[in-house]
Symmetry: C2
Subunit: 206 residues, 2 copies
């Protein structure tokens, strides 16, 4: 099972690494981090560097395509090389997935037209501009296209996907292996739940 994760400067690392830690434990998983060129990729905060092991040009198929988001994804919609590659790989996949604003890249590739989909709460209008129907859920499955909401939601998405691919016992074993029994100390993890002062704080810093 070949899992391909495109990475690019300005990605949000957790968008990629959260689902990676789940999907890499699927039976026979083989994960490829791909970028425009093999080598270093710097995250959106400019403080963490991941390494791509392959160039997009050297990857021509995937069983699972997982597209992360971040400021680099918002910019990436204007990069025909990235968008065209995503469209080509999607034609070969069993599952095409995104986390956070990675959905904008799927949208730019024309893959969300007429589909229910989700994204980071701050990117709803951008998503809808690609013809997707924004759905305020954490994980949205539409056929073989699976989109997740912001950043941390990729873990829920990947466990959902693991269950569909390998069955409930395997997915639960992965959940146990990463001890995913979340207990957030606060309850402001969605725009609907966050107090107004928290929304204002985030808005002032965007």
């Amino acid at each position: 099972m070949r899992i391909v994760i495109p990475i690019f400067d300005g990605l949000t690392a957790l968008d990629a690494v959260g689902p990676y830690e789940v999907l890499r434990m699927l039976p026979d998983a083989d994960v490829v981090f791909a970028a425009a060129a093999p080598g270093p990729v710097v995250d959106g905060a400019g403080q963490l560097t991941l390494t791509a092991g392959a160039a997009f040009a050297d990857v021509d198929s995937a069983d699972i395509l997982l597209v992360p988001g971040g400021p680099g994804a918002r910019r990436g919609v204007d990069d025909p090389a990235l968008v065209d590659w995503i469209r080509r790989i999607d034609a070969t996949t069993a599952w095409t997935t995104s986390v956070c604003t990675g959905s904008l890249l799927l949208g730019a590739a024309g893959l969300l037209e007429g589909l229910d989909a989700t994204t980071h709460w701050s990117a709803v209008e951008l998503l809808e501009a690609y013809g997707a129907r924004y759905t305020a859920e954490r994980v949205v499955v539409q056929g073989t296209t699976v989109t997740a909401a912001g950043v941390s939601s990729g873990i829920d998405m990947a466990l959902t996907l693991a269950g569909m691919i390998a069955g409930r016992t395997v997915a639960e074993a992965i959940q146990l292996a990463i001890e995913y029994d979340p207990q957030p100390p606060f309850d402001s993890g969605s725009y609907a739940k966050a107090p107004q002062e928290v929304r204002d704080y985030v808005a002032a810093r965007r």
Copy 2:
């Protein structure tokens, strides 16, 4: 606020990247990924490469020390250079923290003697051998030492820490920014909750 994250071959990437995405958003956060030498570090699955920007020898203090786990942490307890460096940095920190089996490195450095602490569910006896009192909680705060349970618990730990450092509104804003409103599709994220067949599946593969 200087946040230092030691990385080493065989780490579990999510242990580091989950809390990183939270703590990097603290006001004036400056994150340093440090390793024995600057350059590439390969995770425990052998499929993801992070990059250290600094050598341990070049880092002599931290406001927050965050020690990730993974197979490399279990091995690292026998690496005096790593363990001694952790002990030296701890003497300078406001907060010393670990995720998953990163707590074994704190233990090997003599930092958990007589303290309540937690770790991955599979490492309880190893933790207790360092004189810690294992506590079956997701995040354990003992003075300025904060330990987290397995892998994904680092996100809960970091949000807890963010609240103590910067106050509730800032921590809630970070939670909203990473849209951390977890909705696991299954409920086997702790050893206590996991069905026996799931425990058996994990045990057979360890």
